[in-house]
Symmetry: C2
Subunit: 306 residues, 2 copies
C-alpha cells in the first residue's frame, strides 16, 4: 500500500438531486446527497475517492464540479436505466422542522456497491448516510482501513436498527445528531445518550447539536465545543455530511486519531459545515477555500477562549 493510498479517504453515501424549499427560498434539482457534500468538505483536507451511484439524468457538469475540487470520481457507479436518487424536502418554522415531501431511491434501489481496488485501499473511510446494509457492504470490501467513521439518520434507526447496531461495533467513530442520539439510545439526556452509545459498542461518539455545537465521548475523555456563529442560515441540508467529511479529512491529514486530533477535527468540521448552510446545495462549500475554513476555525477558537 503506497503512502498516498493510505492517507486518502473513501467517502461513501448517496448522490442525489434535491428539490428544497426553505422559509427563505426554493430551488429544484440541485446537486446533493451525503457523498457529494462529504467529499467536497473532505477535499479541503485530504485526497478523496467517492463511492456511490448516479443515475441516467446525472449531469456531466455536476461531475465536473466534484472533479474541480480534486475528488476522484472514477469509482462512482452509474445506473443507465434509472434516474439519480431524488429528495424533495421542506423546512418549516424558521428551520425548526424538516418534512420529506417526496423521496425516490431510483438508482439506489438495486445498488450493491462494488469498490475498485483503489477505493478499497483507502486508509480512511466515511460510511456516509445511506442504508446500513450498503454501509456494511462498503466496509466489508475495505482492505485494511485505519479509521472508519459511521454517519446515520433517523430513518435507519427506525428501519434498520439491527444492522446499524452491528455496524456500530465495527467502526472507530459514530457521528449523529442530538435527536438521533436520543432515538438510538433511548436516553433523553444527551450525556447519558453518549454514554449509552458507547456501551452499545461505539469506540467513540460525536453528538452534533447544530447551532449549539458538538460533544465527543471517547476513551480519552469528554470534549464539548461550540460552533461558528451563523447569522444567516440559508439551507441546513448537507450540514451533517459536510461535518463528517471535513472531520475524516482532517483526521486523514494528520495521520492519527488521538484525542487532540479528534478535537481539532471537530473544529475543522464545525467551520466547514458552517459554510455549507449559508447557501443552497454545495454552492458555497465548493467555492470556499482553505483560507476561509481556517479563518472560521480560528474564530471559533477566539470566541470560546477563556
Amino acid at each position: 500500500m503506497s503512502e498516498k493510498q493510505d492517507n486518502s479517504v473513501l467517502v461513501a453515501g448517496s448522490i442525489a438531486y434535491d428539490c428544497i424549499e426553505t422559509p427563505l427560498a426554493k430551488e429544484d434539482y440541485i446537486l446533493g446527497g451525503a457523498s457529494c457534500y462529504a467529499a467536497l468538505a473532505c477535499s479541503y483536507f485530504a485526497p478523496v475517492k467517492m463511492a456511490g451511484i448516479a443515475g441516467n439524468d446525472f449531469k456531466a457538469s455536476d461531475m465536473e464540479r466534484l472533479k474541480a475540487r480534486g475528488i476522484d470520481v472514477s469509482g462512482v457507479e452509474f445506473d443507465a436505466n434509472k434516474p439519480t436518487f431524488f429528495w424533495r424536502g421542506k423546512y418549516h418554522e424558521n428551520f425548526k422542522s424538516r418534512e420529506t415531501i417526496d423521496v425516490r431511491l431510483n438508482a439506489f434501489e438495486d445498488y450493491s456497491p462494488k469498490l475498485s481496488e483503489e477505493q478499497a485501499s483507502c486508509g480512511y473511510v466515511l460510511l456516509g448516510n445511506i442504508s446500513p446494509v450498503l454501509q456494511e457492504s462498503v466496509l466489508e470490501q475495505m482492505k485494511n482501513p485505519r479509521f472508519v467513521v459511521l454517519d446515520t439518520m433517523d430513518l435507519w434507526i427506525s428501519t434498520a436498527n439491527d444492522t446499524l447496531r452491528r455496524l456500530i461495533g465495527k467502526v472507530d467513530l459514530l457521528i449523529l445528531n442530538d435527536d438521533e442520539a436520543k432515538q438510538l439510545s433511548g436516553c433523553s439526556n444527551l450525556l447519558k445518550a453518549g454514554d449509552a452509545l458507547r456501551d452499545m459498542g461505539a469506540k467513540a461518539v460525536i453528538i452534533k447539536k447544530g447551532e449549539h455545537g458538538s460533544m465527543l465521548f471517547c476513551d480519552d475523555g469528554f470534549f464539548t465545543m461550540g460552533t461558528y456563529p451563523v447569522r444567516d442560515l440559508y439551507d441546513p441540508t448537507g450540514a451533517g455530511d459536510s461535518y463528517a467529511g471535513a472531520l475524516i479529512g482532517y483526521i486523514a491529514s494528520k495521520g492519527d486519531a488521538s484525542f487532540e486530533t479528534l478535537k481539532r477535527a471537530m473544529l475543522a468540521a464545525a467551520a466547514t459545515s458552517s459554510i455549507t448552510v449559508e447557501s443552497f446545495s454545495c454552492y458555497k462549500l465548493e467555492k470556499s477555500g482553505m483560507e476561509e475554513i481556517s479563518r472560521r476555525m480560528d474564530y471559533i477558537r477566539k470566541i470560546s477562549s477563556i
Copy 2:
C-alpha cells in the same frame, strides 16, 4: 462609602415558597424565589445584602439558612398580614416544558421596596426576577452602583414590556434565556437576538441556553461557552437565579467588569447553577462550597479546551 460597602452586592428579587413536581419527585413548600437562590449563589463570591419581602408564614429556620451562608438579611421586609409569595409548578416531558399551576403574589401584592442606607450603598446590584416596576424602584434608590445586572422572565416581557425596555437602557448587563431573548427581540436566530437586544440599549447581554451553555454580547466582542455536564437533572427551578447571583458575585469579587472578568464570571455562574439543578430548592446549593464550585469551573475549562 467604605471599601466593604462598595464591593458588596445587593440582591433584589422574590422570596418564595414553592410546590414543585418534576418527572422524578414532588415537594411542597420549599424555600425558593429569585432573591434566595441568587443570594446563596452570590454568597460564595462576595458579601451579599438581600432585598425582598417575606410573609407571615416565613419560617425563622429558613432565614437561618440564608444567614448561615453569611447573607445579610437585615434589610428583608416582612408583611405581617399576608403569606409569602407562593408558586406551584410542574415540569413535563423530561423537563422540556414547565407549567405554572398556581401563583399567589401574597406579600408581593402591595410591596414597594424601601432600601436601607446600607442596601442602597452596595456597589453591585442584581435586579433579580421580579416585576420591572419593582426592579426600577430598587435601582432608583441605589446611591452610586458600579455595576447593575438585570434579570427577567417571559411574564414581564408580555405584561410590562415598556418598563422593562426602559430599564434595559439603565443597566450594565441584561441576562435572559434563549426563549426570552427570542420573545423580547422578535428574532428567532439567537445571534441576531443578541444584536437586537444591544440595539435596544443593553450595554451587554448574556443569553443562557440551559444545557447548551451561554453567550455574551458586548462592546469588546462575542463569547460563547458550554456548561457543566449535568447527567442527573433533578429540578431546574432557580438555575437562572443562581447563575445571575454567582455572576454578579464574581464580578464584585474582582472589582472590575472587563471582558475577561465577564467571561470568568460566566464560568463561575455556569458552575454554580449546575449545583442548584441537582436537588430541589437550595438544598445542594447552600451545602456546597467554593471547592466544589472551583472544581466545576476547572472541569468546564478542561472539557472545552482545545
